[in-house]
Symmetry: none
Subunit: 187 residues, 4 copies
DNA sequence: AATGAATGAGAATTCATTCAT
DNA sequence: AATGAATGAATTCTCATTCAT
């Protein structure tokens, strides 16, 4: 799994890169763009990351870690009901894809990058594995192994599809509607 | 809507480009690659298309037209049952994303490009509108307007999400399972 | 062996590169330098050569071809004596390493590059094989197989060593003295 | 002449650099490579050497000193015969160019660098002067001034040429054969 | 002495596009 | 319609060097 917390100087670069990658995608963001947004020079980036791809790996890992600690974690909070768990998970997730300040909708850079750079496939699979496990864990409170499994798979697909549609139609209700539906499956 | 059938010389280029874009994505396919695969020179491409983006538009339009004529059309075939319609629609769709000869899984280049090149957004919206309309039309045989609407939205999201997962996990059962589920909604 | 004559547009680039590589060595000559000396832009070089290394290969091949046609060839001219052959071979060779106009001494770029870029090793071996064969062919007029072989090996080593010393001491007499000696071996 | 023994901390850097320069050449060895091989940081190198070139100077000086103390010195050992002197000199020299442990053949980094970085010319001339003097000193036991002079020049050229050929053909017999020959000149 | 972050100049390479022929 | 040479701007990456701490 190997998800380390980024060190001090790197952190700033990773966060700035994340912003740019989300706004402009991997291919449309140059190392120069990133350097500029960090207030350093292009060459200095290579002090921390050995290549643009390496940097992207760290960015995806960072997002993964964030999801583990801030989103998926709600699935394992045994003090609340299954429905509350899923609700919290969805709410936390919405915070990521919808920027309340700017009103902008962001995509799942991990997915979008993996579709275009096959090297990112393995790392994004881990993300989905964790996502799937969290959702399944919640459904298992109400359903048996098999149904929970199927519901989780279906929910993950639906959520990802709706993030895509939300981006394309610039309409976040695709996501919120989907979230409502997958929560309703616990009733 | 403005979907024209590509003319003779263009057609070959569009089809070759489609292949390459699906295998390597828009950004990883150069005009040189395309020219080579057509047996012509880079410069000659500009005889037919005024830019790489223009070419991509034509490719997406071509795919859109194909879906209209070969996939979505099944929704409007009044000689068969709703279930049969959806079944045929899904089967035809699977042919596109799964290459039986090579065993390779392809993505929806329209979507994947739109996520990365915002200019492609409007054209890909039209595609989804048609997709959504076809599915909704089928569900309306069994459900009322509102439910059909919701089911269609949900189904489109789920299908797109599962295409993504299928690509990332290189496992086409994500798609076939989803297809089974959305067909089952007619029972 | 695969030594082709360079085509029209390439030829100019190859010859200009040869000049620069000889004056400044492979590593100290940039693609920009080469482009400038050809009156074209850096990027245009890649129309003809897929990399700097590829260009260097063509340059070494060009030199190899030159040596075959203008230097080693004298060894196989059956109308003159062995001594005359070797004399002509040496004279032709001196023309390459000593630029009468500028008074400059050049090295064997093939050798110098091969010592620094291992990829050039195979091609420079071919050069030496031809050099060795030519010299041996001459010595065989006077000596038996074994002696001719040994004399050729020794002569090639001595010539190359003296080219090096000539460069380092900027004194072409190292080369001319060596040439005299290897010719004297035919007396 | 100015050949000082390197001080404590420097010594380690010089020796590590020597290894790298021999394996990868001057241009293909970065200050980072050197620092890493010494277990220190790039910046720290500048504590000892004011530039990469300066470091290379020290490396060449170090090699020069080694040759004086361990190789050329045999020429002046008056307790053994001329032939034994040359034999010892050659044997000691072979130890440098042929690494018995790894089986690798190394070049004369001084020469190879001088061919590519003219600034190293003066220092490498000193090396050759000493080499030449040692060989000449030996030949003078058997020959007069003039012949000894010529034989020494020839021998040095032949040795250097054969080191080159040995490197290019990865065959140390070029060197050993040459050594045999120059020793035989004392018979 | 040593660190490690940053510099800044420059390198090779890519690529969509243009255009005279 | 097609060629093929050339453009020019951008991009990733390298690396010797500096310097505050």
């Amino acid at each position: 799994m190997n998800i380390e917390k980024p060190k001090k100087g790197e952190q700033a670069i990773i966060i700035n890169s994340l912003k740019l990658f989300r706004q402009q995608s991997f291919h449309n963001t140059s190392m120069e763009d990133i350097a500029k947004s960090c207030g350093i020079l292009k060459g200095s980036l290579y002090h921390y990351f050995k290549s643009k791809e390496d940097l992207m790996f760290r960015v995806i890992s960072f997002v993964h870690l964030y999801f583990k600690e801030e989103v998926f974690i709600h699935a394992y909070n045994d003090k609340i009901s299954a429905k509350q768990k899923l609700k919290k998970l969805c709410d936390a997730s919405e915070l990521v894809f919808f920027d309340k300040k700017t009103g902008k909708l962001y995509g799942n850079i991990g997915v979008e990058s993996a579709l275009v750079v096959p090297e990112f496939n393995p790392i994004i699979r881990e993300f989905f594995q964790d996502f799937f496990n969290a959702v399944k864990h919640i459904y298992k409170e109400k359903y048996g192994e098999k149904i929970a499994n199927e519901l989780a798979e279906r929910s993950v697909a639906e959520v990802e599809g709706s993030i895509m549609l939300a981006r394309i139609f610039n309409d976040k209700t695709y996501i919120t509607n989907t979230h409502k539906r997958i929560i309703a499956r616990l009733e």
